[in-house]
């Protein structure tokens, strides 16, 4: 029997694509399933900024008619997808989460959207994010995004809506953009799979930039298999992004069952056992390391002492670049920024150039240390975030001291930014839940262009842990909570 309703919504992209191909599910049925779930739940979760209802239904009808004639568009024929609103979509509002771009309608698709559409996927909508993908938004101009496991908690950012939609079954698959952890953090907080590919593996053409040397688009999905499927479609050289690699794109799905036997995994002690790491996170991640060892890998502790500096180094480099990019708007339209974004950008504009240069050199040291570790190990293992999703209220309170600022902005970023600063691939995959029912994310970091290794290890863990079948208990919009 074919899955229907909520079971169909959570079936996963690869399975849905197979069901469509076998004509057991129609694209119209799939799109309608998600539109109904968005109507029921997104009034509260606020994953979407724009819903492409009419065009998605029309595209689904066309996909259905073409399927009946045997005219298949590609591997994602009839699959509804949604993208972070930082990514251009032809004829569809693209705000980057900012009031400044409330009327911005691109004329052309970004490369990643173009490639998904060419594979037969159907654009369902555009997803909420922290303003300009920078993090720290206090008042979201398009609604406060909420964690599907507990709506009083943060869904993570900056690809907030991408994490929510993937985890809450509001879309088959989503794309986010990860500069310093913006795909992996929402995946961790929301209980989804989030992959940051190697820098240069996926085109950024048509994506509003945050930091040119670290920005990278990646999938957020319900399963590792789905992340592999999507990556295979969006990866590859693009003449419109000269920083994309010309190296061949492997069949990521084919290597997925490779397992972890013989893989050497380095457990990063500063991130697993550090004082900032929540006890339940530490326990779940250590358990995952033991689990991977039980599947045939070797897991051994490794110390990366420079990694403590990664958060501050990342922010100095990323924010100073963003401050330069935003200077014209900051000068003329400052009141249109969210206060959190404006304070972040103005602060970065005041950092002395010599300090930024020091950060650039420190980046090189961190990168050397991470790559040296990846010379010894096939993968590095760490928590994606030091803690489970915090309460939304903890983000919106004013910064009260420099110590408060350092704790809020630098500490947690030291968990995801080592991969960003180094340019290597990293995935976040669920590895447990806290006693309060919030997801915990396991991060696996690989060598440059070794996405296949990262994905096969994450898949082995996912299959072993059996967590991908858990679903958040959602309250319909307007229902008592």
């Amino acid at each position: 029997m074919s899955p229907a309703g909520d079971d169909l919504a959570f079936a996963g992209t690869a399975r849905q694509a197979a069901l469509i191909r076998e004509k057991r599910v129609s694209p119209v049925e799939l799109v309608t399933t998600y539109l109904e779930r968005i109507d029921r739940f997104d009034g509260r979760l606020r994953a979407f900024i724009t819903i492409c209802r009419a065009s998605a239904l029309a595209e689904a009808a066309r996909a259905e008619a073409d399927a009946a004639k045997g005219a298949w568009h590609g591997a994602l024929h009839g699959i509804p997808f949604a993208v972070k609103d930082q990514v251009d979509t032809a004829g569809v509002l693209t705000t980057s989460g900012s009031a400044l771009l409330r009327a911005n309608v691109p004329r052309t698709d970004s490369t990643v959207v173009e490639r998904l559409k060419a594979a037969g996927a159907i654009l369902l909508g555009k997803l909420n994010l922290t303003e300009f993908a920078l993090g720290g938004t206090i008042r979201f101009p398009y609604g406060q995004p909420r964690n599907p496991w507990n709506p009083e908690h943060d869904p993570g950012g900056s690809s907030s809506g991408s994490g929510i939609a993937a985890a809450a079954g509001l879309c088959s698959m989503t794309l986010g953009e990860d500069t310093g952890g913006s795909v992996r953090s929402p995946a961790s907080y929301c209980g989804a799979v989030g992959l940051r590919p190697t820098w240069g593996r996926v085109s950024r053409h048509g994506c509003f930039p945050a930091a040119w040397s670290m920005d990278q688009i990646g999938p957020l999905t319900r399963t590792v298999e789905d992340a592999a499927l999507v990556l295979g479609i969006i990866a590859g050289h693009d003449t419109r992004d000269p920083l994309t690699s010309r190296s061949a794109v492997p069949d990521y799905g084919a290597g997925l069952e490779g397992g972890v036997k013989g893989l050497r995994i380095g457990v990063v002690t500063e991130l697993v056992d550090g004082a900032d790491t929540h006890a339940e996170v530490r326990s779940a991640v250590r358990e995952a390391a033991r689990g991977l060892a039980g599947l045939g890998a070797s897991a051994e502790d490794i110390s990366l002492p420079h990694i403590h500096f990664a958060g501050a180094v990342f922010m100095a480099l990323c924010d100073s670049e963003a401050a330069g990019r935003h200077k014209p708007w900051l000068a003329t339209r400052p009141e249109e920024y969210d206060a959190g974004t404006r304070r972040r950008l103005v602060t970065a504009g005041l950092i002395p150039a010599v300090a930024v240069h020091r950060a650039a050199r420190a980046r090189a040291l961190i990168r050397e240390q991470v790559l040296a570790a990846l010379g010894k190990f096939d993968l590095l293992l760490a928590p994606t975030s030091p803690h489970p999703a915090p309460a939304i209220a903890s983000h919106t309170a004013p910064v009260t001291s420099k110590e408060d600022a350092a704790a809020r902005f630098f500490g947690r970023r030291s968990y995801t930014t080592p991969a960003s600063l180094t340019g290597v691939p990293a995935v976040s995959v669920p590895c447990g839940f806290t006693a309060a029912g919030l997801p915990i994310g396991l991060q696996l970091i690989g060598r440059p262009f070794a996405e296949s290794t990262v994905l096969s290890a994450a898949h082995a863990w996912e299959q072993s842990a059996g967590l991908s079948t858990r679903r958040p208990a959602l309250a319909a919009a307007g229902a008592a909570l």
Binding site: G200, R358, P448
Partner: protein, 61 residues
Amino acid sequence: MADLAPEDVRRLAASLSLPLTGDDVTEIAHRLNAFLDALAALDALPLEQVEPWQTRPEGSA
């Protein structure tokens, strides 16, 4: 180095034509002092042994 006071931040921002509102200045001072401390701490690293890296990762064609 002594922390920058909100008035210092106000003068710096004015000299760089960066906008400040009354609500922003105190928080920006906290944020900027956090940055200056964190980046000063990098002096403990052997920074002169490396050049700033701004190129592709290994393996990229």
